[in-house]
């Protein structure tokens, strides 16, 4: 067993375990912290694939994201509004069936057509390649994504504006 395989399994167990804890724990704040762990684990997977840029961006963006979710978690828990709100997993059986089916689908399709074990060699600096392709070949989708995010922001402002 090489170090890479060992690291993969450690990360995989960490990721799946923390992701399960996100939905299973009753305490909303703990759920957010488990989510933070899961997102950090994802960054670890990116590192394992030698995509340092993606790993750093994952940490940078989701650290901010987690903070925002934490705020919501605190606002809706008993600490500030005096009302107890614990996370309940309704329809847990249905959810389990759906996720089991999804896992079966993914695993069976991978088994049917196994991925190449050896990775294609990376030519050049990954960060540079990402930067160049985003600004040349994928410029249009990139800009469209920006427009989509702007639309999301504007609709959030629309919903949040005070009634007059």
């Amino acid at each position: 067993m090489t170090g890479e395989v060992l690291a993969f399994w450690v990360l995989a167990i960490l990721l799946v375990g923390s992701a399960l804890m996100v939905v299973l724990t009753k305490n909303l704040f703990h759920a957010v912290l488990w989510l933070a762990l899961a997102l950090t684990g994802t960054a670890g997977v990116f590192l394992l694939l030698e995509a340092e840029f993606l790993a750093a961006v994952q940490l940078l963006l989701y650290a901010g994201g987690i903070v925002t979710i934490v705020v919501f978690a605190i606002v809706v828990t008993e600490k500030l509004v005096g009302e107890r709100l614990s996370q309940v997993s309704r329809r847990i059986t249905g959810g389990a069936v759906v996720s089991a089916a999804l896992v079966w689908l993914i695993v069976s399709s991978i088994m049917e057509r196994p991925l190449a074990i050896t990775r294609a060699p990376m030519s050049g600096d990954l960060t540079q390649i990402i930067g160049e392709t985003v600004l040349t070949r994928f410029a249009l989708p990139f800009e469209l994504l920006a427009v989509l995010m702007l639309a999301g922001l504007m609709s959030a402002i629309y919903f949040a504006r005070p009634e007059d």
Partner: protein
């Protein structure tokens, strides 16, 4: 043999050196603050108080570890570690001289920013886990500030990246062998000011210290911590500010370039980092605390558009110079 041992030993050496510097940086700040306020500062322990940090450390280690009954125990106990680890990771990518460092990553600057932004998770765990109204209020205030000042911090740090054309920290340092980026006409000085302001804000220091405002929140998110846990939080905070000082010295002050033989490089780097640190401390002891709305307005209405424009201007200048063949 050396290639095999270096990756194992280098992190340990860097960790200990950093902790040593961090401990003495507290003494430097106390002496500097005392000087600004016409006081003497720590004086009794050792010659002119040079052993004060050691006395502090010993005191904190022997203190009773008080855990509030109503605290969320796992979160409360984990928080100092979650707070400290990202602050220590910062130093993993810093080169202290050409080829001297733990790992000179291709994405050095980005790694630095990503890791240092994770610190907020530990801060939140401390604020929430303490089960204390002051600590929670402090954590809520931290969100405002950290989200607001992350972007100007990133943008102002990206300006030297654009000038040097690389995210690798050693490349940025090498690009300044001719001209330090702080002396780059107009752009350099403005970017440095923006960097210092957002560093002060990101480190939660006066005038941006609403989240630990001692007159209203006692000590903010760490009010319930004592003994070693308090020491870990303090260590993390000072490691973070030291990391930011090293980053400032590397991005704007030419890192290890300076007169004298090459082995003086790390010493020059340390001196420059200490200058940046003293600049931040100077700001801290010179201004009064400002209100929440003033803090937010400064970031969103002034600093963010200014740094964004500056980044665009830098890109234009760099492309223009490249096309003109300069």
């Amino acid at each position: 043999m050396l290639e095999l041992v270096t990756p194992l030993i280098a992190p340990i050496v860097v960790l200990h050196v950093v902790i040593g510097i961090v401990t003495y940086v507290t003494l430097l700040e106390r002496k500097f603050a005392a000087r600004m306020q016409s006081r003497i500062g720590p004086y009794r322990v050792g010659y002119h108080g040079v052993l004060q940090p050691i006395a502090d450390a010993v005191k904190l280690m022997m203190k009773e570890d008080v855990v509030p009954t109503a605290a969320d125990k796992p979160v409360y106990n984990l928080a100092p570690i979650v707070f400290l680890v990202p602050c220590m990771f910062i130093f993993a990518t810093l080169p202290f001289a050409p080829g001297l460092g733990v790992a000179d990553l291709n994405i050095g600057v980005l790694f630095f920013l990503a890791v240092s932004s994770m610190e907020i998770v530990g801060l939140f765990m401390a604020g929430w886990g303490s089960n204390n109204k002051y600590a929670l209020l402090s954590a809520m205030r931290a969100v405002n500030q950290v989200i607001s000042y992350d972007l100007p911090f990133v943008f102002s740090a990206l300006i030297p990246v654009v000038l040097a054309g690389s995210l690798k920290l050693s490349d940025i340092a090498a690009a300044q062998s001719g001209l330090w980026f702080i002396f780059y006409p107009v752009i350099g000085q403005l970017a440095f000011i923006a960097f210092i302001v957002s560093t002060v804000a990101a480190e939660n220091r006066a005038p941006f210290d609403i989240l630990e405002a001692e007159s209203e929140l006692v000590a903010g998110f760490r009010v319930e911590y004592s003994g070693m846990k308090f020491a870990l939080i303090q260590l993390g905070e000072y490691a973070h500010i030291l990391g930011a000082s090293f980053l400032g010295a590397l991005l704007f002050l030419g890192a290890w370039s300076g007169p004298g033989p090459e082995w003086l490089g790390p010493i020059w780097f340390l001196i420059k980092a200490m200058l940046v640190f003293l600049l931040v401390t100077w700001v801290r002891w010179s201004f009064v605390r400002i209100r929440v709305d003033q803090i937010l307005a400064l970031s969103w209405k002034a600093l963010l558009p200014a740094t964004l424009l500056l980044l665009l201007a830098t890109a234009v200048v760099v492309v223009w110079r490249a096309n003109a063949g300069l």
